[in-house]
């Protein structure tokens, strides 16, 4: 008996060692950019846009792909790596096989495990062909000398072999397998969403070990101090999403029935704006399936909310204000002047009855927006909302948020609003901007307003 137990332990240890230890792949001389086929590079560029690589691998105001971007996790702060083709501090000496291994298994060229903050649990689904294109794209970027920053993790999380255990539990290797019962477009969308686009990395809740909960896919997650909404059947958006709305939103960065993408999502849609329509449509089609058709009463409520938003009828302001006269008066004085005009999105304030932030399980997103507003995008037409961090104190903001919740959602009251506002104020390094250039078709009459 002892022998069998010992055997299991030995085999287990050997497996553990085998898993923990990964061979280093020999360095190569940095390949000449001209050696890559320009069409392949272009393909890689589109894929990198879908993968949103630049968002994590570029420090704001820094050089593209040079890394150094801090990603806060429950375990500490991880700094993104330099993926420019710099020979010393980037991936200049990586052969394609090393890149592919990093995407597939989360291992760097030296054989070290990468923290799953780099979402290889999604990128493992990317095909070899697409990895080749991404490699070609990255190796033809401008090399930037930028040494890696030390991650700030406490022991034992700062020991990379620990990741091996994590991978054993949570990493499902393999390329995406198409579903023959679904359309080509759906399959393309599934491949992108589950793979490069890694939507679940933000939109899926995680377990204590920081892995996405497989049983709760797309049920809502957290990024910085934002809530990434549930984008499955548990969606709380007042107006249910469909494929067309998703396509418009992802392509343009806003939708009249839902609002404007801001916070971390702004960068996502900004990248998607350069990607072929067909890929965005595929993502929209797949996600529409994930949302699923809305239940009848949800659809009915959505129609009611839309009708109310479109007509300047009397709103149930009186009932909602109840004993929240402060919140009601703040809304009327500070918000309604932009949020109750007939000026259409994206330049008019959204009718708050359409806002998912207000129907969201917690008030973080709403608090962030009220505090910081929405900043202008340099030199491009984009929404601007003033922030109220300086003119409203926490009592006033809390009263306002409670009022908005009561009036503009059919969800139960939030709890812990005061604390949420305090926390939001503290983490106000939140960079609030919308994507550059929301679609501004000159012939689009919905964007007019009274001169």
């Amino acid at each position: 008996m002892a022998g069998v137990a010992a055997g299991i332990v030995i085999v287990g240890a050997a497996a553990a060692v085998a898993l923990t230890w990964r061979p280093s792949i020999a360095a190569i001389d940095p390949p000449a950019p001209q050696s890559f086929d320009p069409d392949l590079v272009k393909r890689g560029r589109d894929l990198a846009a879908i993968g949103n690589c630049s968002d994590c691998h570029t420090l704001r105001g820094g050089k593209s792909f040079a890394g150094g971007f801090p990603v806060p996790t429950p375990f500490g702060t991880i700094y993104s790596s330099n993926i420019t083709p710099d020979a010393e501090t980037g991936i200049g000496r990586w052969p394609e096989a090393a890149f592919r291994r990093a995407m597939r298994s989360g291992v760097n060229r030296d054989g070290q495990h990468l923290y799953p903050t780099f979402p290889y649990d999604h990128f493992t689904n990317v095909t070899d062909e697409d990895d080749r294109a991404l490699y070609a794209y990255l190796m033809t970027r401008q090399p930037v000398r930028a040494p890696a920053r030390e991650n700030q993790l406490s022991f034992p999380l700062d020991q990379r072999f620990v990741i091996a255990g994590w991978k054993l539990l949570f990493l499902r290797h393999g390329t995406y397998q198409p579903d023959s019962t679904k359309s080509a477009e759906w399959n393309r969308g599934a491949y992108l969403v589950e793979g490069l686009a890694h939507c679940g990395a933000c939109h899926t809740p995680r377990n204590v070990l920081g892995a996405e909960r497989g049983s709760a896919q797309f049920a809502g997650g957290d990024v910085d101090n934002w809530h990434a909404y549930a984008i499955n059947s548990q969606s709380l958006s007042p107006v249910p999403w469909n494929a067309d709305a998703l396509f418009t939103y992802l392509r343009d960065g806003w939708h009249p029935d839902h609002g404007v993408a801001r916070g971390p999502m702004a960068q996502v849609v900004s990248n998607l704006s350069s990607v072929p329509d067909s890929d965005v449509r595929a993502i929209a089609t797949y996600m529409a399936g994930v949302f699923g058709p809305p239940a009848p009463d949800r659809k009915r409520r959505g129609d009611e909310v839309l009708a109310q938003a479109r007509s300047p009828a009397e709103s149930p302001a009186a009932q909602a204000s109840g004993n929240n006269a402060l919140g009601a008066s703040i809304y009327a004085a500070a918000c309604a002047t932009c949020h109750e005009t007939d000026r259409a999105l994206p330049y008019g304030g959204i009718n708050l009855g359409l806002s998912t932030a207000i129907s969201s399980p917690d008030p973080r997103n709403a608090a962030n927006t009220v505090l910081s507003g929405v900043r202008a995008v340099e030199g491009e037409r984009s929404p601007i909302m003033p922030g109220f961090a300086a003119s409203m104190d926490d009592t006033q903001i809390s009263a306002l948020l409670n009022y908005l919740r009561a009036r503009f959602s059919n969800q139960p009251a939030w709890t812990g609003v005061e604390k949420a506002v305090e926390d939001a104020r503290r983490t106000q390094t939140v960079f609030l901007q919308t994507s550059p250039g929301p679609h501004n078709a000159p012939a689009d009459a919905t964007q007019r307003a009274k001169p």
Binding site: R45, S54, F65, R141, Q142, G379, R381, A445, K450, P451
Partner: protein
């Protein structure tokens, strides 16, 4: 070589000589008795049209001195500059003078404060009037002291004799002494002796502006003043079909609702009451709109497809110069907005048949004429007084706001009425800088020099300013409306759409055509630099394209074709200040650019070198640094001049990289800073250096608009240098640059 023919109506009409002016004088100076057939020379600057000295300088018996100018302070520092000029020539301390600006009851009619004319016209008039006034005072002192004038000197407001006797100006001045015609020539001070002129005297208006003093027309508060807001139509030509104002009249504080055809306004006691009433009134107003606007994305086809009056404005021919390599290019500019930070405002009061309007219009006399015509009043009963507004950069909503205020004030006799435009109204209703198209073609000879040059420009007029009520919105919208006057091109040598279309370079063969487009699908008028912005942008971009084709350095290439020595100096100075080296290579992702122009080919010279960084992933352009050189003749206030050039570069950068008016088929849609973004601090360059080449004793040259054109081209050339891609359609947006890089 044939002499170039400049087909220019003004010169033809004037017979190539001076205007014929003769006056009889009553003053101390004897008139040259010229033969009747020969024309007498006119006094310089605006003295030609307003020749009496006391139209410019008034000296009171207590010695206080007032200087009058028909020009307006727009924030360029002119009030200060004129004070310097007068103080210098009169030999008084800077502080002892007061300057009164544009007022139809007090000052000369100097037309508009525009076209960079102020120093040339008004500054020159003040300089000469002050010098001549001083001489009259000295002559008077000579008489009283019984001494020759040469033994007298002036200092600190007094005439002093060599034996120490002193007569203050106040003592010397007699009634009517300055009520004399100006002489054609004055004894001006030697620039080497300047105490005030040429010095960076701090501006007289800044202290109030940084301490909350009343400084703008927006700050005026007259006793009993009420607040008005206009409800403008939603689009050009919209008709008010229904408007039940009964509820509006009952809103808190509302004093009156004014309706006259499509002109709709509400007046209230307190300002916020007027804003709320405006919103309520806008909600009940029903309009019938007509789609009339062209396709925003296809202005090239729109403009070149409209009927035009075509004229060749420059022609030069030398058949022996033969081109071997030809290139051509088309450049476009969208409609662009003045975008004044402070929306237009005016205060008007109608008392006993006399209308007074306080306004930031650039032209109090022409605006008065329009308003008087609109109100069907004699102009003499209408007084316009200029009070500063925010920077206007040309014909913005100021004149219209003045008309609005006058129309409403007439409905409330005795009560001062303040009209404040909203941001959206300023953006939608201001007359824009016109969209333009230029087509260029040139060829290089076998030595890499330009053998022939072709330049065609399509443009509307660049001025629809009042005089004439029909230029004013209120008059166009009234029940008995005034028709918009037919547009006319501004004549050369200044020009409008063809401003700076004629190259300053010498080319053996050259052909320049102006396609003047009368039809104005969008409301347009003068915007700073007028056609020069786009013409210089095109011309100087194309010079770089030619230099590239010739394998030549851009600076050397320009010098090769330029004879004008002051132009050459300015080019050399900018290049040197920048560290421009032939064969230089910019750092990774960066490019160097250069451009040069002489504004209107007769005002100030400006050359600008720039370094631009382009992010290849996003296409984002960033102006890293700019080095400029400027020659504006005799410098009056060097700091003011530098301020103007720095500002020109930054402003032009914003126009060039970001700005275009947007519209659908009926309405203007760029109606606030969300939809018409301009430069913010995150785009401001690391440094701007301005080198001033002072030309003591030379005539003043207008500098307020000399930087915009070269800045645009310099930036475009730097972007081309950085990316290897040439962009020709303004604005040079991030997306356009990215698409060019990716292509």
């Amino acid at each position: 070589m044939n002499a170039p023919v400049i087909l220019d109506r003004r010169r033809v009409l004037a017979g190539g000589g001076a205007l014929i002016v003769s006056f009889s004088l009553t003053g101390a100076f004897a008139q040259d008795q010229a033969p009747a057939a020969a024309p007498a020379p006119k006094p310089p600057g605006s003295l030609a049209t307003t020749p009496l000295l006391d139209s410019w300088i008034r000296i009171d018996v207590d010695g206080s001195i007032t200087v009058f100018t028909g020009k307006a302070e727009l924030g360029q520092g002119f009030k200060t500059a004129f004070q310097q000029v007068a103080a210098e020539e009169l030999d008084v301390s800077f502080e002892s003078l007061k300057v009164i600006t544009a007022d139809t009851s007090l000052t000369a009619n100097e037309g508009y404060t525009a076209g960079s004319h102020s120093m040339q016209d008004s500054g020159t008039a003040i300089q000469n009037a002050a010098a001549q006034a001083r001489d009259l005072l000295v002559a008077e002192a000579a008489k009283r002291l019984d001494l020759p004038a040469e033994n007298l000197r002036t200092e600190n407001g007094a005439v002093i004799s060599s034996d120490g006797r002193r007569l203050g100006y106040g003592d010397l001045v007699a009634a009517g002494m300055l009520h004399v015609q100006a002489q054609p020539k004055s004894k001006l001070k030697d620039p080497a002796t300047f105490k005030v002129m040429g010095k960076p005297i701090p501006r007289v208006d800044i202290p109030a502006k940084v301490t909350g003093g009343a400084a703008y027309v927006q700050d005026m508060r007259l006793s009993g003043m009420v607040h008005a807001r206009i409800v403008r139509p939603p689009s050009y030509g919209a008709q008010l079909t229904d408007c039940d104002t009964s509820a509006i009249e009952k809103l808190p504080g509302v004093v009156k609702v004014v309706r006259d055809g499509n002109f709709l306004a509400v007046v209230a006691k307190k300002e916020f009451q007027s804003v709320k009433a405006m919103n309520a009134l806008a909600a009940v107003a029903k309009w019938k709109e007509t789609p009339s606007l062209p396709k925003q994305d296809d202005l090239l086809a729109v403009l070149t497809g409209l009927p035009s009056q075509d004229s060749t404005i420059f022609e030069r021919s030398n058949p022996s110069a033969v081109g071997q390599k030809t290139i051509e290019a088309t450049y476009t500019r969208p409609y662009q907005s003045h975008g004044s930070i402070g929306p237009s405002c005016a205060v008007a009061q109608f008392v006993d048949g006399a209308m007074t309007v306080w306004t930031h219009t650039q032209g109090v006399y022409p605006d008065r004429q329009g308003i008087a015509e609109m109100l069907r009043m004699p102009p003499a009963n209408v007084r316009l007084i200029h009070v500063e507004g925010s920077g206007c950069y040309g014909h913005n909503g100021a004149d219209d706001a003045a008309a609005d205020a006058a129309l409403i004030a007439r409905a409330l006799p005795g009560t001062p009425v303040r009209v404040q435009w909203m941001r959206e109204q300023e953006q939608a209703w201001e007359p824009f800088g016109p969209a333009m198209v230029t087509k260029l073609k040139a060829s290089l000879d076998r030595n890499g020099a330009i053998a022939d040059w072709n330049f065609e420009v399509w443009s509307n007029t660049h001025s629809m300013r009042p005089g004439g009520a029909g230029s004013l919105l209120a008059a166009q919208h009234m029940a008995q409306p005034f028709a918009v006057p037919p547009p006319k091109p501004l004549p050369l040598p200044e020009g409008g759409g063809d401003r700076n279309a004629i190259p300053i370079y010498s080319f053996p063969n050259a052909h320049v055509v102006h396609h003047f487009i009368p039809a104005m699908p969008l409301r347009i008028s003068a915007m700073r630099a007028l056609g020069a912005y786009h013409n210089v942008f095109s011309l100087e971009s194309f010079m770089d394209e030619l230099a590239l084709a010739a394998g030549a350095d851009p600076v050397e290439f320009r010098l090769k074709h330029l004879d004008d020595p002051r132009g050459r100096d300015v080019i050399a100075k900018a290049a040197q200040g920048f560290g421009w080296q032939k064969g230089q290579k910019a750092p990774q992702d960066r490019g160097f650019g250069f451009a040069f122009a002489r504004y209107k080919n007769l005002a100030a010279y400006c050359a600008i070198a720039t370094e631009v960084e382009v992010n290849r992933e996003t296409g984002r352009p960033r102006l890293v640094r700019a080095v400029a050189a400027v020659d504006s003749g005799q410098v009056v206030n060097p700091d003011g001049l530098v301020n103007q050039i720095e500002g020109a570069i930054v402003q032009s950068m914003s126009w060039t990289l970001y700005e275009s008016v947007t519209f659908d088929d009926t309405r203007i849609t760029s109606i606030d800073w969300q939809t018409y973004p301009i430069l913010r601090f995150n785009s401001v360059p690391e440094s701007i250096e301005v080198h001033v080449i002072n030309r003591p004793g030379q005539p003043f040259l207008g500098s307020g608009e000399t930087g915009q054109g070269p800045a645009a081209a310099s930036i475009a050339n730097a972007i081309a240098n950085a990316t290897g891609k040439r962009l020709r359609n303004l604005p040079l947006t991030r997306k356009r640059i990215k698409d060019a890089i990716d292509a």
